[in-house]
């Protein structure tokens, strides 16, 4: 990571596990890679887990303003979130769109990566719930925002035993896709 402060926005709809993804990413960066890190989210009416956005800021220095100013990386798992948050991505930023749901990618000056992540979760890993983790894998592989080792450790530490293996599998699948996307 060469920029002082990296801003990542993970967006989608409630129930897609984006807060958890943000936390894992933050833990990877903060605990295992030794960066400073802030993770925030926005909620719907009162706290019923209806969050649609989770933000992570990673920096070598102490982080002052804790919210995303311009995202360096946007993950969009739904069309709505893609349309809404793309405006706030920096000009040379990165968009990762889940083409299962994002059918129309908005015009954007930065880099665009597309992959049917939800489809993969269902078909390759066999569980829609790991869409978030596959996404993490792709992002890490694409951007080296944290080390693969760190994200793996963070994921392992978070996951209860019975679903750990499944999630690691999802993460590694994400790495693979990331590698492929990078080449394209």
């Amino acid at each position: 990571m060469n920029k002082e402060r990296k801003e990542i926005c993970l967006s989608g709809s409630g129930g897609q596990g984006l807060i958890l993804a943000g936390i894992i990413l933050a833990e990877a960066a903060g605990i295992y890679d030794g960066f400073e890190v802030v993770q925030t989210q926005s909620y719907g009416p009162e706290a019923r887990g209806g969050a649609s956005r989770s933000e992570v800021i990673i920096s070598k220095e102490k982080i002052d303003y804790p919210k995303v100013i311009k995202s360096d990386i946007l993950l969009a798992l739904t069309q709505q979130s893609c349309d809404k948050y793309i405006k706030n991505v920096s000009e040379d930023g990165i968009l990762l769109a889940d083409s299962t749901n994002v059918l129309k990618v908005p015009s954007f000056t930065g880099k665009i990566y597309q992959h049917p992540i939800t489809d993969d979760a269902i078909k390759v890993i066999g569980n829609q719930l790991v869409t978030n983790i596959i996404s993490l894998g792709i992002i890490v592989q694409l951007t080296d925002i944290v080390t693969r080792d760190a994200i793996k450790k963070a994921l392992s530490a978070r996951m209860p035993a019975r679903i750990k293996e499944l999630n690691i599998k999802a993460l590694e699948h994400g790495f693979k896709i990331g590698e492929k996307l990078k080449i394209i």
């Binding site: 833990e27 903060g30 605990i31 925030t40 919210k67």
Partner: protein, 382 residues
Amino acid sequence: MSDEKQIVKILQGNEACVEGALLAGIRFFAGYPITPASEIAEGMARRLPKIDGKFMQMEDEIASMAAVIGASLTGLKAMTASSGPGICLKQENIGFAAIGEIPCVIVNAQRGGPSTGLPTKPSQGDVMQARWGTHGDHPMIALAPSDVNEILEITVKAVNFSEKYRTPVMLLLDEVIAHMREKVNIPSREQLEIIDRKKTNVKKDEFLPFKADEDMVPPMADFGSGYRYHVTGLVHNEKGYPTSDAEEIDKFLRRLSNKVELNKKDIVIKEEYSLDDAKIAIVAYGSVARAAQRTVKLAREKGIKVGLLKLITLWPFDDDLINQLASQVDLIVVPEMNLGQMVREVQRAAQGKSRVISYTRIDGDLINPIEILEKIEEEMSQ
């Protein structure tokens, strides 16, 4: 060993508050759920039983505050947490804790008001309420951290102050920092200064429960420890019994407020950024102070000499600090997530020595660094 002492975790603000509270010795928590403070109760529910501490979910916020006071009287360090609507309900019993000189900490994770308002959005709309919410003249200490590490650290301080001064202390979070996660270095108990209330050691029949020492604070005794005494919300004498003697009333009520006001030196916590050569000062607190920190950077990059005074202790308010600052700078900007509350105190203390202006935002989003800078530039061009 020293590795084990400093544990690094990614914690939510509310979790850091739990962590700090437990380190400071909180062993009783009573609360009633409310967004964005519920995670504090949830953390306490999980943690306290593991260390034989007591967690209670009460029927409402009034009862929570009452239970906390009762618990504190038996010698346990006690805490509650809520947000605007619940803090309103606690006011009467906060006054009781103040007059009864019963240590306790009240966390207010602020959300948008008034009324139910904007339950999931941040605000700093309760900072005046923190001072004036309960009726009658009363002491008040209120602290406002601005990052997750600071939440841990200031929570410890809040508990310490409450014990040291035998008074309710309000810890003011806001939804941004309450729900935000950051890297936290969790210290060990040994690394922290932990203050326990002064206990009496006079003979049992000589105990005057409300006779203060020189520091204006009376030593305390636990219910059940053999010192039997009376605690009342009526104005009382040194024995603890109701009085209508004008002299006793005056003496008691002035001591009550003065033990906080006259110990300002000890209680006021603040941080200064780039103030040395500043001609413009931002005065900020809570999550907004972090935006202001960046504003300072951005302004300096542009060659504008801006500095930041970050207030952590909001109450008691340090007039002298502001007055001095006003003598130094030409302009003080006070950005707040409310319609201009602490700015009134800044204006009062500045006494016309510098211009003091308010920048407000109340739409549910954190003030950003650029807005503040723009406000400064706008004011400069006038």
